[in-house]
């Protein structure tokens, strides 16, 4: 039966609330300081006004992504998707506002990533994703280990995930689109690059987070990581065939390279950002999947949605405190005897 996709008042209400979230994030985290990156595809992006414009566009695309997610998820999953979009807001909205990460190249890659996810709902999704991956990696080579890789894994999952009938092979069209995407990914990575982003000047780590804070944040986020991996494992184990099962594992493994590489480069902020945001987006797209009804929390298959609301509020506040205070920055302690006004 064909679904009817309509924008409802509650969807717009949610997007408005998310807009307010963005405003509050700007007030809290953006202190109008800007440290331009050395390597940017366009010189203009090293100016603060264009960085502001880029960030504004990123927020706009994120809002659009939220609206599309709510419209396409179906009534029965709206509350779950709303919850996951709130989690996404916590991990991804404040990320590009602190001084060291304002206007960085990652914000544009993230915007392109969301655009491609939006377009996945359209008729031409298969081919468009490949083109977006190509553009993203040409723009920012580090996207090859972060958003580009995740989108590739997601395309693989969409191609090989279990269908209504488990004996059904992915259609020829889907396989061709996947091949097209993989080829574009490889070509984007290997084509010689301009001097602004040669292989030995790829990473420009910012040392916002110390190693101690980074490790503490990772340890505090570990319980959530365990929940996520357990979910994917339980879902994967439901699959009887190898390829559908492997497609879930791909979503899991796609989040790791960015985390490991940025961690080894000393940019713990980015490492944590990519791990958390890719995990949340994975859960979001899984929730929107046709055949899934909820997330598995434990071996007893008790869904997080069957548990009390206070548990979800606890998880949300827990994540918010770790991300807002430990990762994205703590308020500065003013020096004694210093009166600013």
């Amino acid at each position: 039966m064909e679904r009817e996709y309509k924008i409802k008042k509650e969807d717009l209400g949610f997007v408005f609330a998310q807009g307010l979230f963005i405003i509050y994030s700007v007030i809290r985290f953006y202190d109008r300081a800007f440290v331009p990156m050395r390597n940017m595809p366009l010189e203009a992006l090293k100016e603060q006004r264009y960085a502001c414009l880029g960030t504004f566009l990123y927020f706009l695309i994120l809002l659009l992504f939220s609206l599309v997610s709510l419209v396409y998820c179906g009534e029965e999953k709206k509350k779950q998707v709303g919850f996951l979009l709130t989690v996404l807001s916590v991990t991804m909205i404040p990320a590009f506002l602190p001084e060291n990460y304002f206007g960085v190249i990652d914000v544009y890659s993230a915007a392109l990533g969301f655009l491609s996810l939006i377009l996945l709902h359209s008729k031409y999704n298969d081919r468009l994703v490949g083109i977006f991956i190509f553009l993203m990696i040409r723009w920012d080579i580090t996207a090859a280990i972060s958003w580009g890789l995740w989108l590739l894994a997601y395309t693989f999952y969409l191609t090989y995930r279990d269908k209504e009938s488990i004996s059904e092979e992915p259609s020829g069209g889907k396989k061709t689109a996947l091949l097209f995407t993989v080829v574009l990914y490889i070509v984007a990575c290997v084509i010689p690059r301009k001097s602004y982003s040669t292989w030995n000047r790829i990473f420009e780590p910012r040392y916002e987070l110390t190693l101690t804070k980074g490790i503490i944040a990772i340890l505090l986020l570990l319980p959530m990581a365990v929940l996520f991996f357990r979910l994917l494992y339980n879902l994967a184990m439901e699959m009887k065939r190898f390829l559908p099962r492997f497609s879930y594992y791909c979503l899991f493994f796609a989040a790791l390279p960015a985390f490991v590489v940025w961690f080894l480069n000393g940019d713990y902020y980015r490492a944590i950002f990519y791990l958390t945001s890719e995990a949340v987006i994975s859960m979001l797209v899984l929730m929107q999947g046709e055949r899934l009804r909820g997330m598995e929390l434990s071996a007893s298959h008790k869904s997080i949605w069957d548990s009390s609301r206070w548990i979800r509020v606890f998880l949300l506040l827990y994540l918010a405190f770790v991300m807002f205070f430990l990762v994205y920055g703590q308020p500065l302690l003013l020096e004694e005897q210093l009166l600013e006004y």
Binding site: I27, F83, R309, W310, V313, L317, L333, Y341
Partner: protein, 411 residues
């Protein structure tokens, strides 16, 4: 349900610990360390109770506490003990509240933990005397909820004022309003008399001590000033103590004029804060309008809930005369959390029905989870600056509008 009762305190403790770890800036501010140098050995002066307790601990424990490192450890211990108190208060409320509302009560407790632990772990209010004042009121609330050892509210009133005479404006309203509620709800004349006497006695004790500390306690400070300064230097980070505090508390010098510039900050930040709190103010208005509508049907109902609503009016002198708006807002927020939770624990049917109604309104909306995260942007509360966000907003406006402070000064 029993399983939840067992795990919730552990979850709340864990959450409080996480808030502490993420918000703590690992430094005790000079104002709060200098407070420890005040001691009743130098006379029965205001704000000296905390210092006296610290000196007693120094005398009885086998370690030398008269240095900054010891103060730092003491601060951590105090903050974690406060977390224990929050858990005790939470368990008390949960045991007594309606089963149907358990989920709501748990969420409110999570938010209260977030607000209070972040404020008292953050840089400005780490080991601030406010934590002790709130703790005293919360213990009093537990006594009044359980109706055990209720007479303790009288000495608690005295203790609160001895920590800081500002207690009469800041957190005393919690105990007074709960006493009024117990008085109105008392089923027999014996209980009515009892609560009436407790209210009167608490009020008189608190007021007399306030007047004494405010008007008569700062005499002959010159004789002990050098000694107090030496102790304050030893207790403070890098020996930098708070000169204004000692000048005011020991020498009795009024330094109100030095705060003139800081009032301008309040006049800019407070309206912005009210603006960003509009989503919560809307729900607050919905809740209390429902409460008043229901209260019409009960004897003395309107008066009772008017006392609940108007309790924070005791803060008015502070809002008008003093500049620590972050702390005053914390007082107002903490008041409503503690009093509403206490009413739920006392099985006040009007408050139960209305909170259930507001909960239904909220949960029907997709953005209800988003709303619960908003407060985190404005935590922790500071002192003159309401919070980091308000400080940023203040600077933005000041850069955007030339001569902003001149316009505000006129106002």
């Amino acid at each position: 349900m029993n399983k939840v009762k067992k795990i919730y305190p552990a979850v709340l403790s864990l959450f409080g610990l996480i808030v502490f770890l993420t918000c703590c800036q690992w430094r005790v501010r000079s104002y709060n360390t200098t407070m420890l140098a005040l001691d009743y050995k130098n006379g029965f002066t205001s704000r000296a109770l905390l210092g006296t307790i610290y000196h007693i601990l120094n005398a009885i424990l086998p370690w030398d506490l008269m240095n900054y490192n010891a103060v730092f450890v003491f601060s951590i211990v105090v903050t974690l003990l406060f977390l224990v108190l929050i858990v005790v208060f939470a368990v008390t409320c949960l045991k007594r509240s309606d089963e149907q509302l358990r989920d709501v009560v748990m969420i409110i407790l999570l938010l209260f933990t977030a607000v209070s632990m972040s404020t008292f772990s953050g840089g400005y209010n780490f080991l601030r005397v406010d934590i002790f004042m709130l703790a005293v009121s919360m213990i009093g609330a537990v006594c009044l909820i359980t109706e055990k050892y209720t007479w303790l509210v009288i000495p608690f009133s005295a203790i609160g004022v001895m920590f800081h005479q500002g207690y009469v404006f800041m957190y005393f309203n919690i105990i007074l309003v709960l006493l009024i509620i117990r008085f109105i709800d008392a089923k027999n004349s014996r209980d009515k008399i009892r609560y009436g006497v407790y209210f009167a006695a608490s009020f008189v004790v608190g007021s007399l001590l306030f007047l004494y500390f405010e008007l008569f306690s700062r005499n002959s400070g010159q004789a002990v000033y050098e000694k107090v300064v030496a102790e304050a230097e030893a207790l403070s980070y890098r020996g930098i103590y708070h000169t204004t505090l000692l000048a005011h508390e020991v020498l009795g010098i009024d330094l109100g004029d030095t705060e003139k510039g800081l009032r301008l900050v309040n006049r800019i930040q407070f309206p912005i804060y009210i603006l960003v709190m509009i989503p919560f103010i809307v729900y607050f208005v919905i809740l209390f309008s429902g409460i008043f509508k229901e209260a019409k049907k009960r004897k003395m109902g309107r008066f009772k809930y008017l006392c609940v609503l108007a309790g924070p009016l005791t803060m008015l002198p502070d809002f008008l005369l003093k500049v620590d708006y972050g702390r005053w807002i914390m007082c107002v927020v903490a008041y409503y959390f503690v009093v509403l939770l206490s009413l739920l624990a006392m099985r006040d049917t009007v408050v139960e029905d209305e909170i259930a109604r507001v909960n239904v309104i909220m949960t029907t909306h997709l953005w209800s989870y988003m709303l619960l995260v908003y407060p985190v942007f404005f935590l922790p509360y500071w002192d003159v600056d309401i919070s980091e966000s308000m400080r940023f907003a203040n600077r933005w406006l000041a850069d955007l509008i030339p001569n902003l402070y001149r316009y505000v000064e006129w106002w």
